[in-house]
Protein backbone atom coordinates (compact mmCIF):
# COMPACT_ATOMS: atom_id res chain seq x y z
CA UNK A 1 0.00 0.00 0.00
CA UNK A 2 1.49 3.33 -1.04
CA UNK A 3 1.90 5.97 1.62
CA UNK A 4 -0.36 8.48 -0.13
CA UNK A 5 -3.34 6.15 0.28
CA UNK A 6 -2.96 6.29 4.05
CA UNK A 7 -4.05 9.91 4.33
CA UNK A 8 -7.52 10.96 3.20
CA UNK A 9 -7.67 12.34 -0.36
CA UNK A 10 -7.20 16.09 -0.62
CA UNK A 11 -10.14 18.33 -1.35
CA UNK A 12 -12.66 16.07 0.37
CA UNK A 13 -14.01 16.50 3.87
CA UNK A 14 -12.12 14.33 6.35
CA UNK A 15 -13.74 10.94 6.70
CA UNK A 16 -15.30 10.62 10.19
CA UNK A 17 -14.84 6.84 9.93
CA UNK A 18 -11.15 7.18 9.14
CA UNK A 19 -10.20 5.25 12.26
CA UNK A 20 -12.33 2.29 11.08
CA UNK A 21 -10.27 2.09 7.91
CA UNK A 22 -7.03 2.17 9.87
CA UNK A 23 -8.29 -0.57 12.18
CA UNK A 24 -9.31 -2.72 9.23
CA UNK A 25 -5.93 -2.20 7.56
CA UNK A 26 -4.13 -3.09 10.77
CA UNK A 27 -6.26 -6.18 11.13
CA UNK A 28 -5.62 -7.28 7.55
CA UNK A 29 -1.92 -6.65 7.92
CA UNK A 30 -1.90 -8.77 11.03
CA UNK A 31 -3.75 -11.54 9.18
CA UNK A 32 -1.25 -11.39 6.38
CA UNK A 33 1.66 -11.47 8.79
CA UNK A 34 0.21 -14.50 10.59
CA UNK A 35 -0.22 -16.26 7.23
CA UNK A 36 3.39 -15.48 6.27
CA UNK A 37 4.62 -16.83 9.57
CA UNK A 38 2.55 -19.99 9.21
CA UNK A 39 3.91 -20.52 5.71
CA UNK A 40 7.45 -19.95 6.95
CA UNK A 41 6.87 -22.57 9.63
CA UNK A 42 5.65 -25.04 7.01
CA UNK A 43 8.79 -24.36 4.95
CA UNK A 44 10.97 -24.89 7.98
CA UNK A 45 9.25 -28.17 8.77
CA UNK A 46 9.74 -29.32 5.18
CA UNK A 47 13.38 -28.22 5.25
CA UNK A 48 13.65 -30.25 8.45
CA UNK A 49 12.40 -33.27 6.52
CA UNK A 50 15.04 -32.68 3.86
CA UNK A 51 17.76 -32.42 6.48
CA UNK A 52 16.59 -35.54 8.32
CA UNK A 53 16.70 -37.23 4.91
CA UNK A 54 20.36 -36.24 4.75
CA UNK A 55 20.93 -37.64 8.22
CA UNK A 56 19.23 -40.86 7.21
CA UNK A 57 21.64 -41.34 4.32
CA UNK A 58 24.68 -40.62 6.48
CA UNK A 59 25.52 -37.49 4.58
CA UNK A 60 29.12 -36.38 4.99
CA UNK A 61 28.62 -32.72 5.89
CA UNK A 62 32.29 -32.15 6.66
CA UNK A 63 33.28 -33.22 3.16
CA UNK A 64 30.75 -30.86 1.60
CA UNK A 65 31.83 -27.92 3.72
CA UNK A 66 35.44 -28.59 2.79
CA UNK A 67 34.85 -28.63 -0.97
CA UNK A 68 31.83 -26.38 -1.43
CA UNK A 69 33.60 -23.11 -2.05
CA UNK A 70 35.93 -24.43 -4.73
CA UNK A 71 33.13 -26.15 -6.64
CA UNK A 72 30.69 -23.28 -6.44
CA UNK A 73 33.21 -20.56 -7.22
CA UNK A 74 34.52 -22.25 -10.35
CA UNK A 75 31.35 -24.09 -11.37
CA UNK A 76 28.73 -21.40 -10.80
CA UNK A 77 30.88 -18.92 -12.72
CA UNK A 78 30.67 -20.95 -15.89
CA UNK A 79 27.04 -21.88 -15.36
CA UNK A 80 26.14 -18.22 -15.08
CA UNK A 81 28.31 -17.06 -17.98
CA UNK A 82 26.96 -19.70 -20.35
CA UNK A 83 23.34 -19.16 -19.30
CA UNK A 84 23.51 -15.40 -19.59
CA UNK A 85 25.18 -15.40 -22.98
CA UNK A 86 22.85 -18.09 -24.28
CA UNK A 87 19.65 -16.45 -23.06
CA UNK A 88 20.79 -13.28 -24.78
CA UNK A 89 21.23 -14.95 -28.16
CA UNK A 90 18.14 -17.12 -27.62
CA UNK A 91 16.09 -13.98 -27.07
CA UNK A 92 17.33 -12.48 -30.33
CA UNK A 93 16.66 -15.71 -32.20
CA UNK A 94 13.22 -16.00 -30.66
CA UNK A 95 12.38 -12.45 -31.63
CA UNK A 96 13.37 -13.07 -35.22
CA UNK A 97 11.59 -16.42 -35.13
CA UNK A 98 8.38 -14.92 -33.78
CA UNK A 99 8.40 -12.16 -36.38
CA UNK A 100 8.94 -14.82 -39.03
CA UNK A 101 6.08 -16.93 -37.74
CA UNK A 102 3.77 -13.91 -37.84
CA UNK A 103 4.85 -12.60 -41.23
CA UNK A 104 3.09 -13.29 -44.49
CA UNK A 105 6.28 -13.99 -46.37
CA UNK A 106 6.60 -17.62 -47.41
CA UNK A 107 10.38 -17.74 -46.90
CA UNK A 108 10.20 -16.22 -43.42
CA UNK A 109 7.31 -18.54 -42.57
CA UNK A 110 9.11 -21.57 -43.92
CA UNK A 111 12.43 -20.92 -42.22
CA UNK A 112 10.95 -20.02 -38.84
CA UNK A 113 8.58 -22.98 -38.92
CA UNK A 114 11.34 -25.41 -39.83
CA UNK A 115 13.65 -23.97 -37.22
CA UNK A 116 11.08 -24.27 -34.43
CA UNK A 117 10.04 -27.76 -35.43
CA UNK A 118 13.59 -29.07 -35.77
CA UNK A 119 15.03 -27.63 -32.58
CA UNK A 120 11.99 -28.26 -30.41
CA UNK A 121 11.59 -31.72 -31.85
CA UNK A 122 15.05 -33.05 -31.07
CA UNK A 123 16.89 -33.38 -27.76
CA UNK A 124 19.28 -30.66 -26.68
CA UNK A 125 21.91 -33.26 -25.84
CA UNK A 126 21.95 -34.49 -29.41
CA UNK A 127 22.08 -30.92 -30.69
CA UNK A 128 25.17 -30.36 -28.57
CA UNK A 129 26.80 -33.52 -29.88
CA UNK A 130 26.08 -32.64 -33.49
CA UNK A 131 27.38 -29.11 -33.10
CA UNK A 132 30.49 -30.15 -31.20
CA UNK A 133 31.39 -33.32 -33.07
CA UNK A 134 29.57 -33.00 -36.39
CA UNK A 135 30.34 -29.43 -37.40
CA UNK A 136 34.15 -29.96 -37.41
CA UNK A 137 33.64 -32.84 -39.84
CA UNK A 138 31.73 -30.49 -42.12
CA UNK A 139 34.58 -28.02 -41.81
CA UNK A 140 37.08 -30.72 -42.70
CA UNK A 141 35.06 -31.75 -45.75
CA UNK A 142 34.84 -28.12 -46.79
CA UNK A 143 38.60 -27.73 -46.51
CA UNK A 144 39.13 -30.88 -48.58
CA UNK A 145 36.67 -29.56 -51.16
CA UNK A 146 38.53 -26.25 -51.18
CA UNK A 147 41.85 -28.02 -51.73
CA UNK A 148 40.52 -30.07 -54.64
CA UNK A 149 38.81 -27.06 -56.23
CA UNK A 150 41.76 -24.74 -55.62
CA UNK A 151 39.73 -22.47 -53.36
CA UNK A 152 41.98 -21.95 -50.33
CA UNK A 153 39.49 -19.68 -48.53
CA UNK A 154 37.21 -22.70 -48.05
CA UNK A 155 39.82 -24.08 -45.72
CA UNK A 156 39.60 -20.92 -43.59
CA UNK A 157 35.84 -21.21 -43.60
CA UNK A 158 36.22 -24.83 -42.58
CA UNK A 159 38.21 -23.78 -39.53
CA UNK A 160 35.28 -21.70 -38.33
CA UNK A 161 33.31 -24.92 -37.93
CA UNK A 162 35.62 -26.14 -35.19
CA UNK A 163 34.01 -24.60 -32.15
CA UNK A 164 35.34 -24.63 -28.61
CA UNK A 165 33.20 -26.43 -26.03
CA UNK A 166 31.89 -23.11 -24.72
CA UNK A 167 31.03 -21.87 -28.19
CA UNK A 168 29.31 -25.15 -28.99
CA UNK A 169 27.34 -25.06 -25.77
CA UNK A 170 26.23 -21.49 -26.23
CA UNK A 171 25.26 -22.14 -29.84
CA UNK A 172 23.24 -25.24 -28.97
CA UNK A 173 21.53 -23.66 -25.97
CA UNK A 174 20.71 -20.53 -27.95
CA UNK A 175 19.28 -22.46 -30.86
CA UNK A 176 17.29 -24.83 -28.66
CA UNK A 177 15.87 -22.25 -26.28
CA UNK A 178 15.39 -19.82 -29.16
CA UNK A 179 13.03 -22.35 -30.72
CA UNK A 180 10.97 -22.80 -27.56
CA UNK A 181 10.95 -19.07 -26.92
CA UNK A 182 9.86 -18.33 -30.48
CA UNK A 183 6.50 -19.80 -29.64
CA UNK A 184 6.35 -17.90 -26.37
CA UNK A 185 7.19 -14.63 -28.07
CA UNK A 186 4.68 -15.28 -30.81
CA UNK A 187 1.96 -15.77 -28.22
CA UNK A 188 3.16 -12.61 -26.47
CA UNK A 189 3.02 -10.55 -29.65
CA UNK A 190 -0.39 -11.97 -30.50
CA UNK A 191 -1.71 -11.19 -27.04
CA UNK A 192 -1.38 -7.47 -27.70
CA UNK A 193 -4.91 -6.31 -28.46
CA UNK A 194 -5.40 -5.93 -32.19
CA UNK A 195 -6.79 -2.46 -31.53
CA UNK A 196 -3.22 -1.34 -30.89
CA UNK A 197 -2.23 -2.45 -34.33
CA UNK A 198 -5.25 -0.77 -35.89
CA UNK A 199 -4.65 2.51 -34.10
CA UNK A 200 -1.02 2.57 -35.23
CA UNK A 201 -1.85 1.67 -38.81
CA UNK A 202 -4.59 4.30 -38.91
CA UNK A 203 -2.00 6.92 -37.97
CA UNK A 204 -0.03 5.84 -41.02
CA UNK A 205 2.64 3.69 -39.36
CA UNK A 206 3.98 0.93 -41.57
CA UNK A 207 3.81 -2.70 -40.49
CA UNK A 208 7.39 -2.67 -39.29
CA UNK A 209 7.04 0.70 -37.53
CA UNK A 210 3.95 -0.65 -35.78
CA UNK A 211 5.81 -3.68 -34.53
CA UNK A 212 8.82 -1.69 -33.42
CA UNK A 213 7.09 1.27 -31.81
CA UNK A 214 3.81 -0.16 -30.56
CA UNK A 215 3.66 -3.95 -30.37
CA UNK A 216 7.14 -4.92 -29.20
CA UNK A 217 7.39 -2.47 -26.28
CA UNK A 218 4.12 -3.80 -24.94
CA UNK A 219 4.98 -7.43 -25.61
CA UNK A 220 8.27 -7.13 -23.72
CA UNK A 221 6.39 -6.63 -20.49
CA UNK A 222 4.34 -9.74 -21.11
CA UNK A 223 7.23 -11.98 -22.07
CA UNK A 224 9.70 -10.93 -19.37
CA UNK A 225 8.34 -13.51 -16.90
CA UNK A 226 8.60 -16.16 -19.60
CA UNK A 227 12.19 -15.21 -20.38
CA UNK A 228 12.84 -15.44 -16.66
CA UNK A 229 11.40 -18.94 -16.52
CA UNK A 230 13.41 -20.02 -19.52
CA UNK A 231 16.54 -18.57 -17.98
CA UNK A 232 15.96 -20.61 -14.84
CA UNK A 233 15.41 -23.76 -16.86
CA UNK A 234 18.48 -23.00 -18.94
CA UNK A 235 20.73 -22.77 -15.89
CA UNK A 236 19.96 -26.41 -15.31
CA UNK A 237 20.16 -27.45 -18.95
CA UNK A 238 23.51 -25.72 -19.26
CA UNK A 239 24.86 -28.65 -17.26
CA UNK A 240 24.74 -30.63 -20.49
CA UNK A 241 27.77 -28.73 -21.73
CA UNK A 242 29.70 -30.67 -19.09
CA UNK A 243 29.92 -33.58 -21.53
CA UNK A 244 32.37 -31.45 -23.51
CA UNK A 245 34.42 -30.77 -20.41
CA UNK A 246 33.29 -27.26 -19.55
CA UNK A 247 33.93 -26.81 -15.87
CA UNK A 248 30.47 -25.72 -14.86
CA UNK A 249 28.61 -26.68 -11.73
CA UNK A 250 27.53 -30.18 -12.65
CA UNK A 251 30.92 -31.03 -14.11
CA UNK A 252 32.73 -29.86 -11.01
CA UNK A 253 30.41 -31.73 -8.69
CA UNK A 254 30.50 -34.85 -10.83
CA UNK A 255 34.27 -34.87 -11.05
CA UNK A 256 34.71 -34.51 -7.32
CA UNK A 257 32.02 -37.12 -6.72
CA UNK A 258 33.67 -39.67 -8.94
CA UNK A 259 37.10 -39.03 -7.57
CA UNK A 260 36.17 -39.33 -3.92
CA UNK A 261 33.07 -41.50 -4.36
CA UNK A 262 30.89 -38.92 -2.65
CA UNK A 263 27.97 -38.86 -5.04
CA UNK A 264 25.11 -37.89 -2.72
CA UNK A 265 27.21 -35.18 -1.14
CA UNK A 266 28.26 -33.58 -4.41
CA UNK A 267 24.89 -33.93 -6.14
CA UNK A 268 23.06 -32.34 -3.26
CA UNK A 269 25.63 -29.58 -3.08
CA UNK A 270 25.09 -28.91 -6.77
CA UNK A 271 21.33 -29.06 -6.32
CA UNK A 272 21.53 -26.54 -3.50
CA UNK A 273 23.69 -24.25 -5.63
CA UNK A 274 21.20 -24.44 -8.52
CA UNK A 275 18.35 -23.80 -6.13
CA UNK A 276 20.04 -20.65 -4.85
CA UNK A 277 20.77 -19.52 -8.42
CA UNK A 278 17.10 -20.08 -9.27
CA UNK A 279 15.88 -18.07 -6.31
CA UNK A 280 18.24 -15.21 -7.16
CA UNK A 281 17.15 -15.26 -10.80
CA UNK A 282 13.47 -15.21 -9.85
CA UNK A 283 14.10 -12.27 -7.63
CA UNK A 284 15.97 -10.35 -10.33
CA UNK A 285 13.20 -11.14 -12.80
CA UNK A 286 10.66 -9.78 -10.32
CA UNK A 287 12.61 -6.54 -10.02
CA UNK A 288 12.81 -6.16 -13.78
CA UNK A 289 9.12 -6.91 -14.17
CA UNK A 290 8.31 -4.27 -11.59
CA UNK A 291 10.41 -1.65 -13.36
CA UNK A 292 8.73 -2.36 -16.68
CA UNK A 293 5.22 -2.09 -15.25
CA UNK A 294 5.75 1.59 -14.46
CA UNK A 295 3.37 2.79 -17.16
CA UNK A 296 0.69 0.36 -16.02
CA UNK A 297 0.34 1.50 -12.44
CA UNK A 298 -2.39 3.89 -11.46
Amino acid sequence: MAVEALSPPVGQPPDPDYQMGLDLMAFQQKQRRILSIKIAVVWLVLLGFVISFLLFIEFDFAYVVENAWFIIKEGAKWTIIISVVSIFFATILALLGALGRLSKNSIALGISGFYVSLFRGTPLLIQIYVIYLGLPQVGKSLALLGASLGLPFLSTVGDWFILTPIQSGVLALSLNYGAYMTEIFRAGLQSIHHGQNEAAVSLGLSRWQTIRRVILPQAVRIIIPDIGNQFIAMQKDSSLVSIMGVWELTYMANRMARKDIKFMEMFLLAAAAYWVLTIISSWLEGLLEKRLSHAYER
Binding site: H193, E198, S202, G204, L205, V214, Q218
Partner: protein, 256 residues
Protein backbone atom coordinates in the same frame (compact mmCIF):
# COMPACT_ATOMS: atom_id res chain seq x y z
CA UNK B 1 -24.45 19.55 -58.45
CA UNK B 2 -22.19 19.73 -55.46
CA UNK B 3 -18.48 20.46 -55.68
CA UNK B 4 -16.24 17.38 -55.97
CA UNK B 5 -16.97 15.33 -52.83
CA UNK B 6 -14.27 14.77 -50.21
CA UNK B 7 -15.12 11.10 -50.00
CA UNK B 8 -16.79 9.13 -52.70
CA UNK B 9 -17.45 5.43 -52.22
CA UNK B 10 -18.92 3.52 -55.10
CA UNK B 11 -20.39 0.06 -55.18
CA UNK B 12 -18.40 -1.14 -52.18
CA UNK B 13 -18.55 -4.87 -51.47
CA UNK B 14 -17.00 -6.73 -48.58
CA UNK B 15 -17.04 -10.45 -48.08
CA UNK B 16 -15.78 -12.37 -45.04
CA UNK B 17 -15.56 -15.85 -46.49
CA UNK B 18 -19.02 -16.40 -47.91
CA UNK B 19 -20.53 -13.78 -45.59
CA UNK B 20 -21.57 -10.80 -47.70
CA UNK B 21 -21.26 -7.97 -45.20
CA UNK B 22 -21.36 -4.94 -47.53
CA UNK B 23 -23.57 -5.46 -50.57
CA UNK B 24 -22.70 -2.66 -52.94
CA UNK B 25 -22.68 0.48 -50.85
CA UNK B 26 -22.32 3.90 -52.49
CA UNK B 27 -22.25 7.26 -50.76
CA UNK B 28 -20.41 10.58 -50.65
CA UNK B 29 -19.24 12.97 -47.98
CA UNK B 30 -18.82 16.61 -48.89
CA UNK B 31 -16.21 18.85 -47.36
CA UNK B 32 -17.47 20.17 -43.98
CA UNK B 33 -20.27 17.61 -43.95
CA UNK B 34 -21.12 15.40 -40.96
CA UNK B 35 -22.53 12.00 -41.97
CA UNK B 36 -24.11 9.89 -39.22
CA UNK B 37 -24.37 6.13 -39.69
CA UNK B 38 -26.87 4.10 -37.70
CA UNK B 39 -27.94 0.46 -37.82
CA UNK B 40 -28.21 -2.79 -35.91
CA UNK B 41 -25.28 -4.67 -34.54
CA UNK B 42 -23.72 -6.68 -37.34
CA UNK B 43 -25.28 -4.59 -40.09
CA UNK B 44 -21.82 -3.61 -41.35
CA UNK B 45 -21.34 -0.08 -40.01
CA UNK B 46 -17.84 -0.66 -38.64
CA UNK B 47 -16.83 -2.64 -41.70
CA UNK B 48 -17.89 0.23 -43.95
CA UNK B 49 -15.95 2.77 -41.93
CA UNK B 50 -12.90 0.52 -41.84
CA UNK B 51 -12.98 0.00 -45.57
CA UNK B 52 -12.74 3.76 -46.07
CA UNK B 53 -9.26 3.87 -44.53
CA UNK B 54 -8.33 0.33 -45.59
CA UNK B 55 -8.26 -1.22 -42.13
CA UNK B 56 -10.28 -3.79 -44.01
CA UNK B 57 -9.41 -4.39 -47.61
CA UNK B 58 -12.55 -3.89 -49.73
CA UNK B 59 -13.50 -6.89 -51.85
CA UNK B 60 -14.70 -4.72 -54.68
CA UNK B 61 -15.59 -1.11 -55.38
CA UNK B 62 -13.96 2.28 -55.70
CA UNK B 63 -12.90 4.49 -52.85
CA UNK B 64 -11.89 8.09 -53.33
CA UNK B 65 -10.57 10.19 -50.47
CA UNK B 66 -9.40 13.68 -51.39
CA UNK B 67 -7.35 13.32 -54.55
CA UNK B 68 -6.58 9.63 -54.11
CA UNK B 69 -8.73 7.13 -55.94
CA UNK B 70 -8.33 3.45 -55.19
CA UNK B 71 -10.14 0.86 -57.22
CA UNK B 72 -10.50 -2.53 -55.61
CA UNK B 73 -11.08 -5.73 -57.49
CA UNK B 74 -11.13 -9.30 -56.32
CA UNK B 75 -7.57 -10.58 -56.27
CA UNK B 76 -5.84 -7.25 -56.71
CA UNK B 77 -3.89 -5.90 -53.74
CA UNK B 78 -4.23 -2.10 -53.52
CA UNK B 79 -1.00 -0.16 -53.66
CA UNK B 80 0.70 0.47 -50.31
CA UNK B 81 1.44 4.08 -51.31
CA UNK B 82 -2.20 4.77 -52.06
CA UNK B 83 -3.30 3.24 -48.80
CA UNK B 84 -0.84 5.43 -46.89
CA UNK B 85 -2.07 8.51 -48.76
CA UNK B 86 -5.66 7.69 -47.78
CA UNK B 87 -4.73 7.08 -44.16
CA UNK B 88 -2.87 10.37 -43.90
CA UNK B 89 -6.06 12.16 -44.94
CA UNK B 90 -8.31 10.28 -42.51
CA UNK B 91 -8.29 10.19 -38.74
CA UNK B 92 -9.92 7.23 -37.01
CA UNK B 93 -11.34 7.09 -33.50
CA UNK B 94 -12.28 3.71 -32.04
CA UNK B 95 -14.82 2.55 -29.52
CA UNK B 96 -12.08 1.16 -27.25
CA UNK B 97 -9.85 4.29 -27.54
CA UNK B 98 -6.76 2.18 -28.36
CA UNK B 99 -4.32 4.58 -26.77
CA UNK B 100 -0.77 3.20 -26.60
CA UNK B 101 -0.50 2.23 -22.92
CA UNK B 102 3.30 2.37 -22.79
CA UNK B 103 3.44 6.01 -23.91
CA UNK B 104 2.46 9.14 -22.02
CA UNK B 105 -0.38 11.28 -23.34
CA UNK B 106 1.93 13.60 -25.26
CA UNK B 107 3.95 10.71 -26.65
CA UNK B 108 0.71 9.17 -27.89
CA UNK B 109 -0.25 12.39 -29.62
CA UNK B 110 3.09 13.00 -31.37
CA UNK B 111 3.75 9.36 -32.34
CA UNK B 112 2.31 9.77 -35.85
CA UNK B 113 4.00 13.11 -36.35
CA UNK B 114 7.50 11.93 -35.48
CA UNK B 115 7.38 8.41 -36.89
CA UNK B 116 5.27 8.87 -40.02
CA UNK B 117 5.68 12.54 -40.88
CA UNK B 118 9.29 12.61 -39.56
CA UNK B 119 8.58 15.91 -37.84
CA UNK B 120 11.36 17.05 -35.43
CA UNK B 121 10.50 16.24 -31.85
CA UNK B 122 10.14 19.81 -30.55
CA UNK B 123 7.90 20.89 -33.38
CA UNK B 124 5.77 17.77 -32.91
CA UNK B 125 5.40 18.48 -29.20
CA UNK B 126 4.21 22.02 -29.90
CA UNK B 127 1.74 20.59 -32.37
CA UNK B 128 0.59 17.93 -29.93
CA UNK B 129 0.11 20.42 -27.14
CA UNK B 130 -2.07 22.53 -29.35
CA UNK B 131 -4.45 19.64 -29.95
CA UNK B 132 -4.32 18.47 -26.34
CA UNK B 133 -5.40 21.95 -25.34
CA UNK B 134 -8.21 21.74 -27.87
CA UNK B 135 -9.66 18.65 -26.14
CA UNK B 136 -9.01 20.28 -22.75
CA UNK B 137 -6.36 17.86 -21.51
CA UNK B 138 -3.12 19.81 -21.65
CA UNK B 139 -2.58 19.28 -17.93
CA UNK B 140 -2.56 15.48 -18.45
CA UNK B 141 0.37 15.85 -20.86
CA UNK B 142 2.81 13.55 -19.05
CA UNK B 143 0.40 11.06 -17.58
CA UNK B 144 0.14 7.44 -18.72
CA UNK B 145 -3.24 6.43 -20.19
CA UNK B 146 -4.07 4.08 -17.31
CA UNK B 147 -4.51 7.11 -15.07
CA UNK B 148 -7.16 8.66 -17.30
CA UNK B 149 -10.91 8.14 -17.11
CA UNK B 150 -12.63 6.66 -20.14
CA UNK B 151 -13.83 10.05 -21.33
CA UNK B 152 -10.34 11.51 -21.01
CA UNK B 153 -8.86 8.57 -22.91
CA UNK B 154 -11.23 9.10 -25.78
CA UNK B 155 -10.45 12.81 -25.88
CA UNK B 156 -6.72 12.03 -26.06
CA UNK B 157 -7.44 9.59 -28.88
CA UNK B 158 -9.26 12.35 -30.73
CA UNK B 159 -6.32 14.71 -30.18
CA UNK B 160 -3.96 12.05 -31.48
CA UNK B 161 -5.95 11.80 -34.71
CA UNK B 162 -6.37 15.56 -35.06
CA UNK B 163 -2.64 16.15 -34.65
CA UNK B 164 -2.13 14.42 -38.00
CA UNK B 165 -4.38 17.12 -39.51
CA UNK B 166 -6.57 14.80 -41.52
CA UNK B 167 -9.20 16.04 -43.96
CA UNK B 168 -11.88 13.79 -42.52
CA UNK B 169 -12.48 12.14 -39.16
CA UNK B 170 -14.05 8.70 -38.78
CA UNK B 171 -15.70 7.89 -35.46
CA UNK B 172 -16.75 4.29 -34.73
CA UNK B 173 -19.11 4.40 -31.75
CA UNK B 174 -16.81 6.74 -29.83
CA UNK B 175 -18.95 6.73 -26.67
CA UNK B 176 -20.19 3.14 -26.51
CA UNK B 177 -17.53 2.08 -24.03
CA UNK B 178 -18.12 5.01 -21.71
CA UNK B 179 -20.13 5.35 -18.52
CA UNK B 180 -23.20 7.48 -19.19
CA UNK B 181 -22.02 10.48 -17.22
CA UNK B 182 -18.74 10.57 -19.22
CA UNK B 183 -20.36 10.47 -22.63
CA UNK B 184 -21.13 14.18 -22.56
CA UNK B 185 -17.54 15.39 -22.46
CA UNK B 186 -16.60 13.38 -25.56
CA UNK B 187 -19.69 14.37 -27.51
CA UNK B 188 -18.99 18.02 -26.67
CA UNK B 189 -15.54 17.74 -28.26
CA UNK B 190 -16.95 16.14 -31.40
CA UNK B 191 -19.72 18.72 -31.59
CA UNK B 192 -17.15 21.52 -31.47
CA UNK B 193 -15.22 19.91 -34.32
CA UNK B 194 -18.42 19.81 -36.32
CA UNK B 195 -19.09 23.49 -35.70
CA UNK B 196 -15.54 24.29 -36.83
CA UNK B 197 -16.26 22.59 -40.12
CA UNK B 198 -14.42 19.28 -39.84
CA UNK B 199 -15.74 16.65 -42.24
CA UNK B 200 -16.78 13.50 -40.39
CA UNK B 201 -18.42 10.12 -40.57
CA UNK B 202 -19.83 9.09 -37.19
CA UNK B 203 -21.20 5.69 -36.24
CA UNK B 204 -23.21 6.16 -33.06
CA UNK B 205 -26.13 4.91 -31.02
CA UNK B 206 -26.60 8.31 -29.36
CA UNK B 207 -29.66 9.33 -31.29
CA UNK B 208 -30.03 12.69 -29.56
CA UNK B 209 -26.50 13.64 -30.49
CA UNK B 210 -26.92 12.29 -34.02
CA UNK B 211 -29.92 14.50 -34.58
CA UNK B 212 -28.01 17.44 -33.15
CA UNK B 213 -24.74 17.40 -35.14
CA UNK B 214 -25.56 15.28 -38.18
CA UNK B 215 -25.99 16.94 -41.56
CA UNK B 216 -27.23 13.65 -42.96
CA UNK B 217 -28.19 10.26 -41.44
CA UNK B 218 -27.80 6.90 -43.17
CA UNK B 219 -29.52 3.74 -41.94
CA UNK B 220 -27.65 0.53 -42.83
CA UNK B 221 -29.16 -2.94 -42.64
CA UNK B 222 -27.66 -6.18 -43.84
CA UNK B 223 -24.94 -4.34 -45.74
CA UNK B 224 -27.35 -2.16 -47.67
CA UNK B 225 -28.17 1.53 -47.22
CA UNK B 226 -31.87 1.32 -46.54
CA UNK B 227 -32.64 4.97 -46.05
CA UNK B 228 -30.86 8.28 -45.81
CA UNK B 229 -32.01 11.79 -45.09
CA UNK B 230 -31.97 14.80 -42.81
CA UNK B 231 -31.79 13.85 -39.16
CA UNK B 232 -34.96 15.42 -37.79
CA UNK B 233 -37.09 13.84 -40.50
CA UNK B 234 -35.44 10.40 -40.26
CA UNK B 235 -35.85 10.18 -36.50
CA UNK B 236 -39.35 11.62 -36.29
CA UNK B 237 -40.78 9.89 -39.30
CA UNK B 238 -38.69 7.18 -40.97
CA UNK B 239 -39.99 6.16 -44.39
CA UNK B 240 -38.76 2.58 -44.64
CA UNK B 241 -40.48 0.01 -42.37
CA UNK B 242 -37.05 -1.46 -41.53
CA UNK B 243 -35.81 1.88 -40.24
CA UNK B 244 -39.01 2.28 -38.26
CA UNK B 245 -38.56 -1.17 -36.80
CA UNK B 246 -35.06 -0.28 -35.62
CA UNK B 247 -35.84 3.13 -34.17
CA UNK B 248 -39.11 2.34 -32.36
CA UNK B 249 -37.82 0.34 -29.33
CA UNK B 250 -34.88 2.69 -28.92
CA UNK B 251 -37.16 5.67 -28.75
CA UNK B 252 -39.36 3.80 -26.26
CA UNK B 253 -36.65 3.21 -23.71
CA UNK B 254 -34.39 6.17 -24.29
CA UNK B 255 -36.87 8.97 -23.87
CA UNK B 256 -37.33 10.33 -20.41
Amino acid sequence: MNAKPLIQVENLHKWFGMLHVLRGVSFTVQTREVLVLIGRSGSGKSTMLRCVNFLEEPSAGTIQVGDVVVGCNPGVQPDDKDILAVRLQTGMVFQEFNLFPHMTVIQNVIEGLTTVKKMPKDKAVAFGEKYLAKVGLLEKRDVFPIRLSGGQKQRVAIARSLAMEPKVMLFDEPTSALDPELIGEVLDVIRELAYEGMSMIIVTHEMGFAQDVGDRVMYLENGIIVEEGLPPEMFKDPKDPRTKNFLEPIKKYHTL
